[in-house]
Amino acid sequence: MPEQLVFAMEVFANGLMSGVLYALVALGFVLIYKASGIFNFAQGVMALFAAMTLVGIQNGQVPFAHLINAIFGTHVHTFGWNISSAFALILTVGVMILLAWAVQRFVFRHLVGQEPIILFMATIGLAYFLEGFADLMWNSEIKTLTFCLPGEMCLPQGMNLAIDDAAFNAWGVGFFIDNLDITATLVAIVLVIALVAFSQYTKQGRAMRAVADDHQAALSVGISLNFIWVLVWSLAGFVALVAGIMWGAKSGVQFSLSLIALKALPVLMLGGFTSIPGAIVGGLIIGVGEKMFEYCFGIGQCFGGVINLGGATENWFAYVLALVFLVFRPQGLFGEKIIERV
């Protein structure tokens, strides 16, 4: 196989896999938007918070250590134990459910019936609060995330390690794919199947779809809106946790993690705000699109290098694509078409 083609395929595969990670974040947005009409700006910060909590629990960090030390003049930092990843994962899920309940109880319960823009503003406030809270609780150092399930099944580390350790070499032609990306893809596929099965075949899922469709009708068949909203925020928290683990393993748990929410925006514009499959397909298109565009036109590898934009197209490609979609298909690929009757 010509080297050029192998390289292009690698770029394509890498695009697909970073697309999966975008999709994971976008999924959290879709869940909440569908059920409550809230565009949750805090989704990215939730991923950060979840990843920090997981690492913190795992390493036996004392929550609010700085605060405690400042007030009592002590020097506590860790409990001095290490908790297994699986157990830490369960505890973190618990924390995310608690967070979901608190968000519903203390913020959105008081804003029922408000304009969408007000709900959106509330989520911006929530994002800043949560970011500060995460900082206060687990401090702001960059942490490495090592995630191992029983039986030595560890999540591979990202490309920042030696390439030979981290990558998968296929077909003996030097075809390199990040092992972490493969794992992330598999996890995302399982997660999506589980979410779809949940919403299609369970009682709670049916109730969730009902609430997403019509609040009044949902009430009249005996569905508690509050319960469903806590449920979707918990689910979104869980999705954020998975996204946080994957991104955290890829590039370390640090505050820039919360910015992945910005990459999810174009994904949502492509896929539509209300469609779970849309979030996946949108993520893949953006992932592949930006990598291939960079390869072809950014560094000029296609068509004999006629167009060479000098790189760094990845920074803006997704947003430009989203803009094009806004002009020609504002509801996205899978979103509900809005038809106003006159």
Binding site: Y201, T202, K203, Q204, R206, A207, R209, A210, A212, D213, D214, Q216, A217, A218, L219, S220, V221, G222, I223, S224, L225, E336
Partner: protein, 270 residues
């Protein structure tokens, strides 16, 4: 009125009181929508609330179904005073309703819509549902059977798998009725079931209401402003005007009530 069961002329048994409204007053700011109204609903009967537009009928229905909480008065249900409740809790107690402007899950199929009516009857927890054996499977099969029976009964088999958003108005009304009926309610509240229908559709709907009451023994309370339809359907009628009760009794009694006649035909004030 006595509270003993009796048999109607057409052979249906009307049981004791299942719900009683006592001196209900509902205000929106300074506007009184309902003023000091009391009436009861008995098991197995078809009870109508009628009145001209703006009489407070829909408000009354919303009080019964928990969408509004009255400032004064008590709601007694199955022999106990009902504390202020959320609409979903009222639904959980077995009071199902339809809406004047139809509230269906437009994106879901007819079958799924009707199935949501049975959420309350599904008890299996999430783990049982995940492994899909035993309780969860049994429940789903059982609920599907009940739902299919109701779908047959309301003659909407042909559109079972159609998304509700694509259906015409008359059929949507019927799907909403099916969803409410699927809950096997103790009381079924119908908010203007015949609004916006042509004569043929009205006849169909009347037939369904009577059959429902006859076959499943469902207690029905309905609101309607078409006098003719109501008089043929109901066992007893409450008449409201400007938020006050001006008549209560059998259709014949109500029809001969001077206040009712005045309210409907208008009366010269001198």
């Amino acid at each position: 009125m006595s509270n003993e069961s009796y048999v109607t002329d057409d052979g249906r048994t009307i049981g004791p009181t299942v719900m009683e409204m006592k001196n209900i007053t509902l205000r929106f700011g300074g506007v009184k929508a309902i003023t000091d109204i009391s009436f009861d609903i008995r098991e197995g009967e078809i009870r109508a609330i009628i009145g001209p537009n703006g009489a407070g009928k829909s408000s009354m229905l919303n009080v019964i179904s928990g969408f509004y909480v009255p400032q004064e008065g008590e709601v007694w249900y199955k022999g106990a005073k009902r504390p202020p409740m959320k609409p979903y809790q009222v639904a959980g107690q077995g009071i199902a309703r339809t809406f004047q402007n139809i509230a269906l899950f437009e994106g879901m199929t007819v079958l799924d819509n009707v199935m949501t009516g049975r959420l309350r009857q599904m008890k299996a927890n999430i783990f049982e549902q995940a492994i899909w054996k035993g309780k969860a499977e049994r429940e789903e099969v059982e609920n599907r059977e009940k739902v299919e029976r109701i779908i047959d009964f309301l003659e909407i088999q042909a559109i079972r798998k159609t998304p509700v958003g694509r259906l015409p108005y008359g059929l949507k009304k019927r799907v909403e009725l099916a969803r409410a009926l699927a809950a096997e309610p103790s009381i079924l509240l119908l908010d203007e079931p015949m609004a916006g229908m042509n004569v043929e559709e009205k006849e169909d709907m009347s037939r369904f209401i009577l059959d429902m009451n006859d076959e499943f023994g469902t207690t029905i309370a309905l609101i309607e402003h078409d006098m003719g339809v109501v008089m043929d359907l109901s066992d007893r009628v409450v008449v409201m005007d400007y938020g006050k009760k001006i008549g209560d009794g059998t259709p014949d009694e109500v029809r001969n009530n001077q206040d009712v006649i005045d309210a409907y035909l208008g009366v010269a004030h001198d």
